[in-house]
């Protein structure tokens, strides 16, 4: 699974070469998340209505290497948007990807934009 983990690398908006039309806005629950597939990757998308911001990150939790983050609860820690893994409640910043309650490696985050009722994810490959 380490090899799979390594395929998820945070992408900067300036590096985006492909904007992938992932799903409709309506398919992601408000203040919750869902998962989309892009090539071999699983990406978790969150519609953080309270902050009026959308977030995208890897679906893989680096703790036990399971594809589950999209099913986690979102919220904030001192104002930083975060997601809690449903398996062991490891929390990760949705902004920097950093693990907020431990020393796990950071998760990869991806650029996301909304156009005409669709969610687009930015990739550099």
């Amino acid at each position: 699974m380490e090899a799979v983990l390594a395929t998820y690398q945070s992408t900067d908006t300036s590096a985006v070469t492909t904007w992938f039309k992932a799903c409709t806005v309506k398919s992601i629950p408000e203040n919750g998340g869902a998962c989309v597939k892009y090539k071999d990757k699983q990406i978790a998308i969150f519609n953080f209505v309270r902050k009026n911001v959308w977030y995208a990150c890897q679906n893989l939790c680096p703790h036990k290497m399971e594809m589950v983050l999209s099913r986690g609860m979102i919220g904030d820690a001192d104002g930083i948007a975060k997601v809690a893994c449903p398996l062991h409640k490891k929390t990760f910043s949705l902004e920097s990807g950093e693990n907020l309650n431990g020393d796990l490696p950071a998760i990869a985050t991806y650029p996301i934009k909304i156009e005409d009722g669709f969610v687009y994810l930015g990739f550099s490959e």
């Binding site: 989309v36 290497m65 399971e66 986690g72 609860m73 979102i74 919220g75 904030d76 449903p86």
Partner: protein, 839 residues
């Protein structure tokens, strides 16, 4: 600009850099660090963790970027070959020359390899670096390819050798520890404690061989065994040598610095070597004619050297170095402090030993019984922090010093007193050198007001974390002494206890999570307050978990228990454990159709594991069609009411326990609560339903039922306590309605009934007054509220399968019908299980 050169980038070398940049003004120093290993400094103390997670990054003390961010030039993979004291330069193996004003030698030590014949054979390793570990792991794989029962020996039964034993176990080989001395950990433990440790380790599968002198390593090219004496051999496929350390003082010797006869660079209390511009710290330094192989003294040395170089010449090394240690060795607590072995002319020892429980405690007390001189703990080192503090601070011992070992007699007696009794100078966090005064004064001066503040401003607890319980006590007790109430608020978003929040939601008529956050909370919520409010809404409005799916605990959102690989389990309700053959067949058919692993649960029902998220609605549709309902096994809710077969069949039965269990389970099914709720009904005092291990238990006796409450199994087992005797069915239900509702309204999140009763002032007697005597005059209200919840029950899985919008939730991907291909199952005993976690 002052030029500092550090040779060695191990734990102590790194700590020196950390201390130095903390003391110096940014840009004031030019620091160059040479490391011989390919990677930046890592945590060697926890090296065996590498076998579990194979993650070198997680052992790193600081990432490579930390060095550059702090203006330190870190040169790894570079061996320094020479020092020129006159011209103040060092030369690297690749021929570069660097000048210095101050030089710090933190070259550490190398494993000592005894001159045994055959030690050069393949398969013989030392245990020090990540590269050593990688070599061992590769070799172990080769062994395992050839045979299934490979063995590895560790030469040396000291601290590090036993750590290596654990590593061998993790590699999947049979570990054998070979020790020259007649006992394990000869430097820290006495003979009896060592025996207790040995018994524990042997029970874990580690073979121990004591009093063995290895004469020869056997094998042709590669190791096949060890020879101790004539006809005394041990067949092994691999050997790890952990027979002590030798200081890496070769550089010091070639440049003419003073060294000890048995190695080590001689330093004074400023950590200076015989050349005042050169310092030596860590395992290479010979201080007071001793080499210190522990990390704490090494860190102290780093701090002293950094201060000396920055001109704080008062900061010197203490004369006596505390060699106390506490560690968890393969899950076994081992601690020793002060003088663990004490000659009889200095004082007396008080010893407690219980080999069945693998416990050993020894304290050494002065002849007058007033001072603690040292001690040893094996099996349970829970008292180490307090004992260590008593020793360090020379605190007075209680009148009966044996209470420190065997515990105080009588009610609530604590021999230790509280952490508040320690002097202000007592060092609470030794990793970060934080004293009791630092913590308490920060609170008293109102620089901090919470535990979180204390941790961020003093860094206490951020090292090994062993001091956490003491820090928590100090913070709570200090705040209490200042008249501040330490309120157990839900989280940073709601400054209320759950009971307060319950009242607020009810009085203000708040019906949604966002409304609660906007009116009485702050921020955007989190994984703690979301499910807490969902639970409160469920109690007040009887909302099922389908109402606001995104605030439900992750299991409730998908109405199933998430399992190890992200698959889910399905548990239909089987009230009282009674099931018809027809329904049993349906369970079997569904399990077969969807390829589910089946197991009987502890609550007398059948669990179907390994369901994919996408299949859950279809599975439940079939179960509901056959008459099943949700079992709420995923929820903080009523789980089961377990029963014995009772008077309908049993010749001892006093009453119909199955019928009553079914009645109770049907009544309270779907009831959400602060934590899970379990019940039991037994038909006689033989108690086959184990009702007293439940949150509520009912036992048939002559003349009615006895009602017990607030028991549980789990991590802290507790028997339920008697609430009422010889009552009829109707009264049982009346009392249960009151009891459950009162608990649900007033408990903290994730607090089970037993813990709740412990916190309830007045305990079980007070609960009797409230429930049985109705002292708060809440009885009618509680009963009515419960009846309303019972009347409005709905199966949430039925809601889900009948509603297309809700069904959409159960999709792994929202942009394709594909399944999660990351989920892997492997066969096990004719069924399947998730592939084991790598870590």
């Amino acid at each position: 600009m002052q030029r500092i050169v550090v040779i060695g980038n191990g734990m102590v070398g790194y700590k020196f850099c950390e201390k130095l940049v903390g003391l110096a003004k940014p840009g004031a120093l030019d620091i160059t660090v040479f490391g011989e290993e390919p990677r930046p400094a890592y945590d060697r103390v926890h090296l065996s963790a590498y076998f579990e997670n194979r993650d070198a990054g997680s052992l790193e003390l600081a990432p490579a970027s930390w060095y550059s961010d702090n203006g330190i030039a870190l040169i790894t993979n570079q061996y320094v070959s020479d020092i020129d004291k006159e011209n103040k330069t060092v030369q690297t193996k690749s021929g570069e020359t660097h000048t210095y004003d101050q030089l710090v030698l933190a070259t550490g030590s190398a494993p000592f390899v005894p001159p045994i014949q055959g030690v050069e054979k393949d398969g013989v390793f030392v245990y020090r670096t990540i590269e050593d570990l990688e070599g061992m792991m590769a070799y172990a794989e080769k062994i395992k390819d050839k045979k299934s029962n490979g063995k590895a020996a560790i030469l040396g039964g000291g601290l590090l050798g036993l750590e290596a034993g654990k590593a061998v176990m993790d590699m999947g080989l049979e570990p054998h520890v070979v020790e020259f001395a007649p006992k394990l950990m000869p430097r820290q433990l006495d003979a009896r404690s060592s025996k207790v440790l040995q018994l524990t380790l042997e029970s874990l599968g580690i073979h121990i061989h004591l009093s063995k002198t290895t004469n020869q390593i056997l094998g042709n090219g590669a190791i096949t065994g060890m020879e101790f004496g004539e006809d005394d051999k041990l067949d092994v496929d691999m050997l790890i040598i952990s027979a002590g350390i030798r200081p890496r003082d070769e550089l010091a010797k070639t440049c003419g610095l003073a060294t000890g006869t048995r190695g080590g660079i001689v330093v004074n209390h400023k950590m200076q070597t015989s050349d005042p511009s050169i310092y030596a710290i860590g395992e290479v330094a010979l201080y007071n004619q001793m080499i210190y192989g522990l990390v704490a003294p090494g860190y102290d040395m780093a701090k002293v050297a950094a201060n000396q170089i920055m001109g704080n010449t008062d900061e010197v090394m203490a004369n006596d170095i505390d060699m106390s240690t506490k560690l968890k060795l393969i899950g076994v607590d081992v601690a020793s402090f002060g003088s663990p072995f004490m000659p009889a002319d200095k004082g007396h020892s008080i010893i407690f030993e219980n080999k069945t429980k693998r416990l050993y405690k020894r304290i050494n007390v002065s002849h007058d019984g007033k001072t603690l001189l040292g001690g040893i703990l094996v099996g349970d080192a829970g008292d180490y922090n307090m004992l260590h503090q008593m020793y360090l601070n020379g605190m007075a011992l209680p009148e009966n010093a044996e209470e420190l070992v065997v515990g105080a007699r009588g009610e609530g007696g604590a021999a230790f007193g509280s952490a508040m009794d320690l002097p202000d100078t007592a060092q609470i966090c030794s990793c970060e050198s934080v004293s009791k005064g630092d913590i308490c004064n920060s609170l008293l001066n109102e620089e901090s007001s919470t535990l979180k503040d204390i941790v961020s401003c003093t860094k206490a607890t951020t090292g090994c974390g062993g001091c956490k319980p003491m820090v928590v006590d100090l913070v709570n007790e200090t705040l209490k002494s200042m008249g501040k109430v330490v309120k157990e608020v839900i989280c940073e978003h709601f400054q209320y206890t759950r009971a307060e929040l319950y009242d607020i939601v009810r009085v203000k008529g708040i019906t949604s999570y966002d409304e609660a956050l906007d009116t009485v909370g702050k921020g955007d919520g989190c994984e703690v307050c979301k499910p807490a409010l969902a639970s409160i809404f469920a109690t007040i409005y009887n909302d099922t978990a389908n109402k606001e799916a995104v605030i439900q605990d992750s299991n409730d959102r998908f109405l199933a228990n998430i399992q190890r690989n992200g698959s889910y389990s399905v548990v239909p309700r089987i009230p009282g454990g009674e099931i018809t053959p027809e329904k049993l067949i349906v369970l079997g058919q569904v399990a077969k159709k969807y390829d589910l692993y089946t197991k009987i649960t502890g609550g007398q029902r059948i669990d179907l594991f390994g369901a994919e998220l996408n299949d859950l609605p279809a599975i439940w549709q079939e179960l509901i069609a056959a008459g099943f309902e949700s079992g709420h096994a995923y929820g903080k809710a009523l789980r089961t009411v377990k029963s014995c077969v009772g008077s309908t069949w049993c010749r001892y039965g006093m009453d119909e326990s199955v019928s009553f269990a079914i009645e109770l389970e049907e009544r309270y099914k779907g009831l959400r609560s602060p934590h899970k709720l379990k019940g039991g009904v037994s038909g006689c005092i033989r108690e086959c339903a184990e009702a007293r291990g439940k949150d509520f238990g009912v036992i048939a006796v002559e003349g009615g039922w006895n009602l017990y409450v607030c028991g549980n199994g789990g991590a802290k087992p507790k028997h339920a306590l008697l609430l009422a005797e010889q009552i009829d069915n109707k009264t049982v239900i009346k009392y249960l309605d009151r009891f459950l509702m009162y608990y649900i309204r007033t408990a903290a999140p994730l607090m089970r009934t037993a813990a709740w009763l412990e916190k309830l002032e007045g305990g079980i007697e007070q609960l009797k007054r409230i429930v049985v005597e109705d002292s708060l005059r809440l009885g009618d209200e509680l009963e009515l509220q419960m009846q309303a919840l019972v009347d409005r029950y709905e199966c949430e899985w039925k809601q889900a399968v009948e509603n297309d919008e809700i069904r959409k939730r159960f999709q792994h991907f929202v942009n394709t019908e594909d399944r999660d291909d990351n989920m892997v199952f492997v066969p096990m005993r004719e069924q399947k299980m998730p592939e084991a976690w790598a870590t």
